[in-house]
Subunit: 203 residues, 2 copies
C-alpha cells in the first residue's frame, strides 16, 4: 500500500461547492471546478466519480453546514417559536450578506434549476429541502396549533426563506430582504398568538 491522498478532500469540496453555488450546476464547468480546486480532471473523477456525484457531495456538504446553523437558530428559543423563526431568518440573511460566500442559497437555486438537473441530483435537492421544511415545522409546533395550520405556516416560512435567496440573486437589496423578513415574522407571531387565543377561548 502506498500513494496516499495528496490533496485535502474537504478543502477541495469547499471550493467546488462555492463554484456550484455561484455558477449553478450547468455553468460550473470542469475547467472552472478544476481551477478552483487546483485539481486536474483525472483527479476530480478519481476522487468523486463524475460531475453529478461531485455536485451531490457538495449539496450534502452545504446542507450539513447550513442545516446545522438553521437547526441551532431554531433551537435557540424552544419556548418561543416566533423568536425561533426570527433567528432562522437571521441565519439566511447573514449568509446572504456575507461577502465571503456567494449570494443566494445553493439548494434554492438548484431547486429553481431543477428541471435541467440529473434525476438523482433533483431527488437529492428535494430531500434536503423537505428536511429543512420539516425542521421549521417542528420548531413551530405548539399544542394550540392544529396540524393543517401548522403545515401551512411552515410552508409559508419555508417559501419566504426560499424567496430571500432568489431575490438576492436577482438584485434585491439587503434592506428590502430585511423588510420582507420583518413582515413575515410579524405574521408568524400573530398567527401563533391567534391560535393560542382561540384555544383559550374555546376551552
Amino acid at each position: 500500500m502506498s500513494g496516499r491522498k495528496q490533496f485535502d478532500v474537504d478543502a477541495a469540496l469547499d471550493r467546488a461547492m462555492r463554484v456550484f453555488w455561484q455558477q449553478g450546476y450547468a455553468d460550473a464547468s470542469l475547467d472552472l471546478l478544476g481551477t478552483a480546486t487546483g485539481l486536474g480532471r483525472g483527479s476530480l473523477y478519481g476522487a468523486f466519480g463524475s460531475k453529478d456525484a461531485l455536485f451531490r457531495t457538495c449539496l450534502d456538504r452545504y446542507a450539513s453546514i447550513y442545516g446545522a446553523q438553521y437547526e441551532r437558530a431554531l433551537a435557540a428559543y424552544p419556548d418561543n417559536p416566533a423568536r425561533a423563526v426570527e433567528a432562522f431568518f437571521g441565519v439566511a440573511l447573514d449568509r446572504i450578506a456575507d461577502p465571503a460566500v456567494p449570494g443566494g442559497c445553493l439548494l434554492a437555486q438548484s431547486a429553481s434549476q431543477s428541471p435541467t438537473l440529473n434525476a438523482d441530483s433533483r431527488t437529492r435537492v428535494r430531500a434536503l429541502l423537505d428536511k429543512q421544511r420539516e425542521r421549521v415545522r417542528a420548531a413551530l409546533s405548539i399544542p394550540e396549533l392544529d396540524a393543517k395550520a401548522l403545515d401551512d405556516l411552515a410552508t409559508y416560512v419555508f417559501a419566504v426563506n426560499q424567496s430571500l435567496a432568489v431575490l438576492s440573486r436577482a438584485g434585491t437589496t439587503g434592506a428590502d430582504l430585511h423588510s420582507v423578513v420583518r413582515i413575515t415574522c410579524t405574521t408568524v407571531a400573530e398567527t401563533l398568538a391567534r391560535a393560542k387565543a382561540k384555544s383559550t377561548r374555546g376551552r
Copy 2:
C-alpha cells in the same frame, strides 16, 4: 419588392417563449427553438437577430401578456387593496395551475438565472420585474400608509409572488401554494387595517 414574410411571427414567438419558459435560457438550444417554431436557424436569425434578441423579445411578450393580466386583477378592486392583492395572486396561481403553459414564471426563473444571462437580458429582466413591483405598490397605496411601509409591503407581496413560481418549479403542490397565498393575503389585509386604525387614532 417581393418575397414577403412566410410565417406567422407572433405564433413563432409564442412557441419560442414557451421553450424559454420551460427550459430556461441556457437550455433552450437553437435546435429546440427551431423545432418548436418550425423555423430553421437562418430564419430565426433573419427575423430576430440573435438568440439573445429573440429571448428579449419573448421576455417583452411575456411581460405584455401576463403584465396586463396582473394589471387587470389589481385594478378590479380599486377601493380594496387587500382584495386586489388577492386577485393578483389569483392570476399567478391560475397560470401556474394551467396545464397549457409551462410551470413557474418566465421572469422569475430568468431572474434566478440572472448571473448567467447576457448583460442586456439581465437588465431587461430587472426592468420588467421592477415594473411589476411598481404595479403592486400603486395598487396598495392608501393615504393611511406611509411611504416606507408601502414600499415594504409591496416588496413583500412581490417576493411572495416570485416564490410561488420558484416553489412550483421545485415541486411544491398547488395546495401548498394556496396556503402560502392565503397567509400572505391575511397579512396584507391586517397590515392595511392596522395602518388605518393607527391613522384614525392619531387624528
